[in-house]
Every structure is written in C-alpha cells, then in structure tokens.
Symmetry: C2
Subunit: 339 residues, 2 copies
Amino acid sequence: MVDRRSNKRSNLRDVAKAAGVSIATVSRVLNSPDIVSAETRRRVMETIEDLHFVPSAAARAINSGRTKMVGALIPTLDNAIFAKFLAALEARLGESGLSLIVATTDGDPDIEARKAQGLVDIGAEALIVSGVTHSHAFDELIRRARIPAIATSYYDEHYSLPTIGYDNAAASLTALEFLRSEGHRKVGIVHGPVSNNDRTRARLSGLEKLAADVTIQSFETTLSIEGGAAAAREFLKAQTSCTAILCLSDVLAMGAILELQRNNVRLPDEISLMGIDDLPYSSFSNPQITTIHLPVSRMGTYTADAVIQWLDNDIVPKSKLIEAQLIVRQSTKTYRSQE
Amino acid sequence: MVDRRSNKRSNLRDVAKAAGVSIATVSRVLNSPDIVSAETRRRVMETIEDLHFVPSAAARAINSGRTKMVGALIPTLDNAIFAKFLAALEARLGESGLSLIVATTDGDPDIEARKAQGLVDIGAEALIVSGVTHSHAFDELIRRARIPAIATSYYDEHYSLPTIGYDNAAASLTALEFLRSEGHRKVGIVHGPVSNNDRTRARLSGLEKLAADVTIQSFETTLSIEGGAAAAREFLKAQTSCTAILCLSDVLAMGAILELQRNNVRLPDEISLMGIDDLPYSSFSNPQITTIHLPVSRMGTYTADAVIQWLDNDIVPKSKLIEAQLIVRQSTKTYRSQE
DNA sequence: TTGAAAGCGCTAACAC
DNA sequence: GTGTTAGCGCTTTCAA
C-alpha cells in the first residue's frame, strides 16, 4: 500500500525507506542503474512508481551542476522566421530532455545582455543568440561564465562564437543575380533597419558584388508588412526606372505586393518583385513570391543537436553553413528592354 | 583587491568572509535588505559587486521552493496568434523576474500532459495552457502537484481552472450577426479541425443561435493558409448559393482570399468574406479583411499579471473575459437580393 | 553491490 | 542587527 499520509512530494529518503535500501542506492538506480543489482533495482524502481517519486531538479542541479535548461535569446516572436526556428529548436531539445527558456530582446544588444545574464543566473547551461552583433557586456558574460553559446541565423566562421546559419550576403547576392539573369539592370532594394541588425547589413553588403552590373536604389523601412507597404509607396513616388524590387525579407515583400496591387501595378508584368526568407504565405500569395528559402527549421534542429553535443560530450561545434535556396515562383518575370 | 585564485562562481560564504560578516547577513542583504544596518549593507553589496557574486538559483529553489519559472504549453509557435500571446506573456513575466519555459503540444492532449509533467518536474511554479480540453493525466497532475494553472484563449467560468480568454462562441456569433445585418442569408463556414480543438468547436457552436435566420454550409480543412485555399476550392466546386464566407480563423481567410482571387472571384463584389483573429496581415491584404479582433497581447499581459498575483499573494484569479471586437474592413459588402 | 556521511549553496528559525 | 545552525534533496566519495 502506498503511504498517503503526507501530501508533499516524496523524496529520496522516502523511497529508500519504503524500498528498504539506502538513499545512495536509490540515487544510483536513477543515475547509473547498471551498477545496481537487478533485484534491488527492480524493487527500487517499483517503489519509485508507487510513490510517484520525481527527483527534485533543484537539488539535482545544486549537486551535479546540470539544470537541463537552455536559454534562447531572439529578437522577436512576431516574425514567423524566428517562431519557426524556436519551434524546431524546442522540439529537438525536448527529445533530449532539455527545456527551452525563451527571452526576447527586441533586437537591442543591451536588453540581450541583461536577459542573457538573467538566463545564466537561473542556471541556463547554454545560450542561443541571433546574429553576431552583441554588446560588450554579453561577450564578457559568455567569457566569464564559460557558458556554451551559439550564434544563429548568420554564418561567419571567424566569429568568436560558433555560428550556425546562412550566408546572408550570399542569399541576397543569389537573389540579385537571379534578377540580373532575368534581364533586370535597375533594382529597388527594400530593407529593414540597418542599426543593430547584422542580417540586414550582411544582405545589403552581398549586393555590392554586382554593383558594376546592376544599379540599385535603397528604401529603408520598418520590418513589417506595413513597412513593406510604406516602402512600396516611396518606391512609386520616386518614379524610378527600376524594373524589379528586391525585398530583403518576405514580410516586406508581402507588404510591398499588397501596396503595389492597391495602386494597380500588375505583378510581375509591370514590375518584378522578390523576397528572402520564404515564409508560409510566400507560396500562397497572388502572385506567389519568388524568394530565397532559408531553412530555419533545419537550422533549429541542427542548433539543438550542436548544443546537445556540446553539453553532453564537450564537443564544441564548428560553424555550420545552412544552404539557402532560390525558389522561383510567379512574382518575377524576364525583362526585355524595348529597343 | 579581488580574489582571483579560483575560477568557480563565488558563493555566500566567500562574500561573507570577504565582507567580514556571517553568511546569514549576506543572505539578508539579498532578501530583506531593510533589516540590515545601512553600513553593513553597503559593505556587503560592495563585496558582492567585487566578487561578481550571483546567488545560485538552484540552491535558492531548494530552500525557498521558488524557482521563478513559469511553463507555457501552447499548440504551436507557427501561428502568429500564439506567438503574439507568448511575446506579451514573456515581456510581463520578465518584469517580475519570472522566466518563461515554452513547450509546444501540437494540440495533442497526451503530448501536453507529458510535457506538463516535464515542466513540473523541472520546477515550474505555474502552468499556462491553451483551451479547456485536456487529458485526464493533465488534470491529475494539476491536482496532485497543486500547481497554479491557467487556461487561456477560452473563456469559461465553469471550468475547473481559471480561464482567461475570449468567448469564442460569441466571437463567431458576432461575425455571423454582422454578415446577417449586411443582408447575407446563406454563408459558407470555413474552419479548422474540430477534434482536440475546443476553440474551433466553440466558434462553430456560436453560430447555431442564428440557425433560424442564416443557412450555413461547413467546410472543414487544416488550420493553415493552404487549408484556407483548399477550402475555397471546395467552396467553388460546391457551387453553393452562399453570398458570404466566414472563416473561423484569419489564416484560413488569407488562404481563401488568395485562392478566390486566383479564380478571378472579385471580393467583396461577388462574395463577402470575413475572418476571426485579426492577424497582422489582415489589415494589409487586398482587400483588407473584415474580422473579429482578439486582443491576444492583452490576454498575455493579463495572464502574466494573474500568475504573478497567484504566485506572490496566493490570490487565485477569477476567470476573465477578454472582449473581442468587430473590425469592419473591405472584404465584406452589403448584399441585396435581386428581386 | 551497498551504506554512511560529507557536502552543494542557500534560507530561516532561533539565540544573543 | 547580527551570528549560529539546522536543514532542503540530492550526488559522490569512501568504506565495508
């Protein structure tokens, strides 16, 4: 019969007493079952079941130093690209018994540093951040706490932390190259804020390689559908001779498409438009958006695996390039200059 | 001079020794500073700074029982509606020094129960779940662990847990009533899977009140843009005499709009369409979607406050109805039968 | 293969 | 106001 006198969680001692062994033995059954005799192990495990015993994570943490918690610092949950990444990350970490603590930074390095400190304080065993632009305080924290940390969404093998992500510069270059190969020589670039956003900066820098072949004109805006729409308005007002628009994020592309259509601009006949990211709606919009697919789910899974390896086997991950992929859909069209 | 001999985190004893006080005094400075003399307090705090001392969360948890962690179980991160909710939740919890542990359930009560157990095991002080459909194992867990738990996205004052959410039935009824007031008498209903989704079921049930006035025809599909598009195809194939479509989620509305436009159906001239949720793109699409705004950010903030009150002051929250709001935009139009 | 016992870093009850 | 001390629930030597 199970002892139900008390309501509090049972502990090692309760189990030990009920099973007629010492607490050390119970602890062994939990942590290294193979060094306990089969019979004892069976009896103890049975008792554990009976008493609904669950080891205290706090007590375990205080002794072993392992909390099984991983902290993720992301700019925002509002962008599907990060949400999808987190989903994959959480799924894979969970398989290995690791919990994910989420903190949003709003893209602000100071907030990031503060929240990172908080995560470390509560015992996060590893940190996952976005991009490679971080505050000094953050770098110091990683150094002092000697905590495994991985930078994602950005590939840079020379960064102080292992990076797992795409080559943002290459992604935008691929996009622009595609437009050029389709005959476009003047392209409007719509992008989000440059400050504190290394992904945007990298994507912009990628375009420079084609500076000789393609003339570009930039429109900076906020990173939202509304921002994309606003940029499209600016674009129209500017009366450029651009034959295509490259949005450095699909959210922006979405906003731009809607605004252009509101102004009766036919896509892709009058102007070609493409994005980068490949969000869910990009393949369902009218027209479907030609874009660069960034495999964020794969990045999440890969990052989780890297963290697990680092934590369990002390294997520091190498930086990993996640290949982006051009997806040609309906929003772009070959341009032929009328001679 | 700071002692740098050791690399490990300094502890209470280190601080006490360096400041020339007892560990109890240091503990007091940390937890109830006002009962320590100003001078002592100053000296101790200085030492704490010097040694970069950070109290061990695990040790604190083992003694005080407080881990400062809250677990959230949500169906998916892929839907902006949940992501926005989480963002608000995390923000407000963070202000009170609480961390958010995220677990996704894929809408499966069994996965939910398993992950809920995991959250409790690692010391979550409270649980936040979505909806009111949960497994027996989950209910048992809440009961046994006596852990504060709040159900969100669904208002039901009779549920065993406090609920903070909207009246889903009322939301869909409001939508259908609006369509009726606009002259629509036959309406196609596009909705997500009914199984394991009480929100969808509630929204469907809300429509029944108007059964006498409005004839409806249902189209069940998956909860995604693609699902919405597929449902729209079905709708067209069915050749109904419906003059409006009510999508029980904006994601579905989005997919449906795109598919209808692909089939050259003019909105809202040939058919009216509305949604429920009010996602970011709903106000930017062409046409902008008439919908029911569900204030998920407010729900997140409110839920966080409720959790904090419960944890800090043992005040069990009352169920709270978050008011939804009809937002009339461009995708709907008055219907006049041609007599 | 098992048990006894010494901590881990902290909080809180109690004493001065 | 401050110090002493007994735990919290566990892991981990060290002996047996």
